[in-house]
């Protein structure tokens, strides 16, 4: 029953958004401030992005209950780019020019972000991007609240190399064939070689989107792992392909104590669609887990359950990133005393808000935020239990120091530098 009630709620919110399109009073001085929500509600990415839309609506409703921002109510404008990358750009344009939103919260895949990028630059708006990604980017109009590779992938590899993680000596880098896994694996390969891992101890494997037949690859992994050295799999396998991958691992009897798999795209939400008993002990690296035992996280989960009217609905890392992005925007608006994107862009650097793991997230001059890195093991109940975490928060390296093409680049959007890709060798920006 709760499902249909939820969908009813969803459609009524969507209707509200549609009604507001025609509203003549949208730009009135004391009217509500509009926030664009640009997440796919249909198509292949709906599986991940629908949740983020719900979180944003919850946060906006909660902010309005507190009296809004600068005395103005907020109003969400929800659009559906339908997992269609060019449509992301069109919808972003519509949100900015037609609805006049003050900021956009949205995108999941890197390709959708790249498609929105020219639009937010041209129309000088703001995009908050809440998902972990491959880095190698820093733009004036985009704020990246998910993890860069050094806030997720590198610490995960460090952990597995350590005694606690099993002193792994041999590595399988398995990923879906697109930009995030390719770039992440390039960084990881350079990093592993820097740490003295030989070429023959690294196996890199790419699979198409939606790969469902993992028999050969899993048996290759098994073979690669029987060379007498501790082996681990670093998985950048995307979304849907994970279920058949883990099923095959379970069926072929590969246990976490033999060959652990550490995943960067598998969170509580993905696990809720799987039978996790054969997966106990496989790892995930994120900046937040639902199981984190802090009062602020407990409160967030309770708020989420109350809002979705579903006491079993899981929370995950991109939700925390979306929450941090929204809190930062609110704080920056209050600091700048203005909703204008230009003012907010200047004011937001240095803004700190609490994260859900008991620390604070700060917006750095490179438009990325500081994050703690958590390594967790999958439990039989589908939760991820933290087994290791960085002592403090980690600052994002948006330009990887392990890749030759980006090792001399830095980004600093503070005036007067205001540059996203300054080459420190040549002193040249761009």
């Amino acid at each position: 029953m709760s499902v249909s009630r939820r969908s009813l709620l969803r459609s009524s919110v969507a209707m509200l958004g549609a009604v507001s399109l025609n509203s003549k009073f949208a730009f009135a001085a004391d009217g509500p401030i509009k926030i664009g929500i640009l997440h796919s509600l249909s198509g292949t990415m709906a599986i991940s992005e629908t949740t983020l839309k719900d979180v944003m609506l919850m946060l906006i409703a909660a902010q309005n209950a507190k009296g809004g921002v600068l005395g103005r109510k907020l109003e969400a404008v929800v659009v559906d780019p339908a997992s269609n990358w060019p449509l992301f750009a069109e919808k972003a344009r519509e949100l900015i020019s037609k609805d006049g939103v003050s900021a956009i919260f949205g995108c999941w895949t890197s390709v959708s972000r790249k498609s929105v990028l020219p639009v937010v630059k041209e129309l000088d708006s703001i995009l908050f991007y809440p998902v972990q990604y491959e880095g190698q980017e820093s733009e004036r109009n985009v704020f990246y609240t998910g993890a860069a590779p050094n806030q997720q992938a590198i610490p995960a590899v460090d952990y597995l190399m350590s005694k606690d993680g099993g002193s792994v000596k041999r590595w399988v880098l398995a990923g879906t064939d697109y930009v995030y896994p390719r770039t992440t694996n390039k960084i990881l390969e350079a990093y592993l070689k820097l740490k003295g891992v030989a070429q023959e101890d690294i196996l890199i494997n790419y699979t198409p989107f939606g790969q469902s037949d993992w028999q050969t690859i899993v048996s290759d992994i098994k073979k690669f792992g029987s060379a007498g050295k501790k082996t681990a799999v670093v998985s950048t396998i995307n979304g849907d392909a994970n279920v058949p991958f883990y099923k095959e691992l379970g069926n072929q009897g590969i246990k976490a104590t033999d060959i652990p798999v550490v995943a960067f795209s598998v969170g509580e939400e993905e696990l809720s669609g799987m039978d996790t008993k054969p997966l106990v002990g496989h790892l995930a690296a994120w900046n937040y887990f639902e199981s984190v035992d802090t009062p602020i996280n407990k409160a967030f989960i309770a708020q989420w359950h109350a809002y979705t009217k579903n006491p079993k609905r899981t929370t995950n890392d991109p939700m925390e990133a979306a929450m941090i992005g929204f809190s930062m925007w609110v704080k920056a608006v209050e600091k700048a005393n203005s909703f204008k994107p230009d003012d907010v862009i200047d004011a937001i650097i240095g803004v700190s808000v609490p994260n859900l793991t008991g620390g604070t997230a700060t917006m750095m001059p490179n438009h990325h935020i500081t994050k703690p890195v958590l390594i967790g093991e999958i439990q039989a109940d589908g939760q991820i239990d933290t087994v290791w975490q960085t002592p403090g928060t980690v600052v994002a390296q948006e330009w990887s120091p392990y890749l030759p093409e980006s090792k001399d680049l830095i980004s600093d959007w503070r005036k007067p530098l205001s540059c996203g890709n300054l080459n420190v060798k040549t002193g040249h920006c761009g």
Binding site: I47, D213, T216, N251, A256, S272
Partner: protein, 532 residues
């Protein structure tokens, strides 16, 4: 089941009179309270080698996340299966202590490994030969030098030949890697491990090859090379098997389409959604069983198969009656209408069930693996191969040996003549479309065991299905069978050499070239029906 028996054993050990404390488990137990995985793993190893009778209960509790400690007093507690709290030291119920004030002892892979090793050494002494065998196998997996005296002692007592062999192998794995053992003994041990011949043996031998010196290194390397050569031959057999398995999935996905598109000529883009609906039927059946009849869970697929056939078959008939029948002879409109329909069905499922994956469990008989020589066969895949062949034969029977099949073939071969003979062609069309959809639904039940059950399930199979039907020759079920199997095997033989991405591209290019040469596919229909 095996695990339960083990628990029972541990609990049995726990209830034994507690007076034979050797050194006392206090140092070991105290380690659990240090909130450190390395200390916990150490504690597990100490408890396993200690003669303390309470160890079984504590370790069983730890592996089930039922072990707790008091952060202030460092006292260790465990909950039994009924949820009653006990003090670990004396096993007595700890009344008046609230679990909420205690901290759980967390597990990581290092602790889990130690637990598995402990399980091996503790079950090795069991009275049940099945338990002893599993213990001996665990001991091989662990090949922990500390366990050598225990293994040797057990070996002297052991009478069961199978357990004895497993123990000998475990002993050999330890001796072969031991620097202290005499060279001749190590060389013999390497032979024993080599004779075992599986992945684990290869792993043990390659580790020795990496670390040892002189004669032992040479022998280990030779043994590794020998095992790898055998494995390489088996790998080819394995690839063909994987190919057949992939082929059976393709066959299941395509065979419904072979009816609707192949026999009836309807370009049915909503075919994949019928597969998806079949998978969701399985999900609903499992949810219902989980809630009301959990003991029947293993039968869930057998209940889901006929139900999925009825549900999707019924939807198929409705689609044919309301949409398709107005579009016969207009392939482009059919394509667009069914494509639109597929989007509608997807979004409908997304609205009802949500966009995320649904958890469809595997019944007991669908999980696990067995070895046939060097071939590893997973049960799930094996049953799906057999099931796909069964579906194929059933469908052949239906088309060849029943009156409905005869009428259906008559209608597709010459509609007007069939009509003139008194066959109700409208009814046959609707039933044939329903049959194709129903078969797709059955395929969905099988695919729910392998793939995501999400609204996108069907989309990922529709292209492959069309490819199989067109490649096999439209209108020919045998063609579909041969096409599915040959595409599966070709894919799996290419994959190790060129990778999954390029393999798929190469296969597509080959099919394009093939269709250029033979536009009607592998098994082209001949005769008057083709011309019309």
């Amino acid at each position: 089941m095996h695990w339960l028996r083990l628990l029972a054993l541990w609990v049995a050990i726990a209830i034994l009179p507690q007076n034979a404390f050797a050194e006392g488990p206090d140092t070991a137990l105290a380690r659990f309270a240090q909130h450190n995985f390395m200390e916990s793993a150490k504690a597990v190893r100490e408890l396993a080698s200690d003669q303390w009778s309470g160890a079984g209960a504590v370790l069983a509790a730890l592996s089930d996340n039922r072990l707790y400690y008091d952060a202030a007093s460092k006292v260790i507690y465990f909950k039994d299966e009924k949820g009653t709290l006990h003090t670990a030291r004396d096993g007595l119920p700890a009344a008046g202590i609230d679990v909420a004030t205690l901290s759980p002892v967390h597990l990581n892979n290092a602790v889990r490994s130690a637990l598995e090793d402990a399980k091996g050494s503790m079950t090795m002494v069991s009275a049940d030969p099945v338990q002893r065998l599993s213990g001996a196998k665990d001991a091989f997996r662990a090949h922990d030098p500390a366990a050598l005296p225990a293994i040797t002692a057990e070996l002297a007592k052991e009478t069961d030949p199978e357990v004895k062999l497993a123990l000998q192998q475990a002993q050999a794995a330890i001796i072969a890697a031991s620097v202290d053992a005499p060279i001749a003994q190590r060389l013999d041990a390497i032979k024993v491990v080599q004779a075992r011949g599986d992945d684990l043996a290869l792993s043990v031998l390659s580790a020795i090859g990496n670390n040892a010196q002189g004669e032992v290194k040479t022998a280990a390397l030779a043994a590794t090379a020998n095992l790898q050569a055998t494995a390489a031959i088996w790998a080819n057999v394995q690839n063909v098997y994987y190919g057949l398995s992939l082929g059976s999935v393709l066959l299941l996905a395509a065979i419904g389409l072979a009816i609707t598109f192949g026999v009836m000529g309807v370009i049915n883009m909503a075919h994949g959604e019928m597969v998806m609906l079949g998978a969701y039927t399985t999900y609903i059946v499992q949810q219902w069983l989980r809630a009301y009849r959990p003991e029947w869970f293993d039968a869930s697929l057998f209940i889901a198969i006929p139900l999925a056939f009825l549900v999707t078959g019924f939807i198929g008939v409705i689609i044919e009656r309301t949409i398709i029948r107005f579009l016969y002879g207009r392939p482009l409109e059919t394509l667009l209408a069914t494509f639109g329909l597929s989007l509608v069905l997807q979004q409908a499922v997304r609205t009802i069930f949500g966009a995320d994956n649904r958890n469809v469990g595997a019944p007991h008989f669908m999980s696990g693996i067995f070895h046939l020589g060097g071939l590893s066969v997973t049960y799930g895949r094996m049953w799906i191969i057999l099931f796909s062949i069964l579906v194929f034969l059933g469908l052949q029977m239906l088309l060849r040996a029943t009156s409905f099949g005869l009428k259906m073939r008559a209608v597709t071969q010459n509609r007007r003549m069939a009509s003139a003979m008194g066959i109700d062609t409208n009814k046959i069309d609707a039933l044939a479309f329903g049959l194709g959809s129903g078969i797709a639904g059955i395929a969905g039940v099988a695919l729910s065991q392998l793939d995501n059950v999400s609204p996108n399930l069907g989309q990922s199979y529709i292209i492959d299905s069309f490819m199989v039907v067109v490649f096999g020759g439209v209108g020919n079920l045998w063609g579909t069978l041969v096409a599915a199997m040959s595409l599966g095997v070709a894919n799996k033989i290419l994959e190790p050499f060129v990778g999954a991405v390029l393999g798929k591209i190469l296969i597509l290019i080959c099919i394009i070239l093939f269709i250029q040469r033979r536009p009607r596919g592998l098994f082209a229909l001949k005769g008057r029906a083709v011309e019309s």
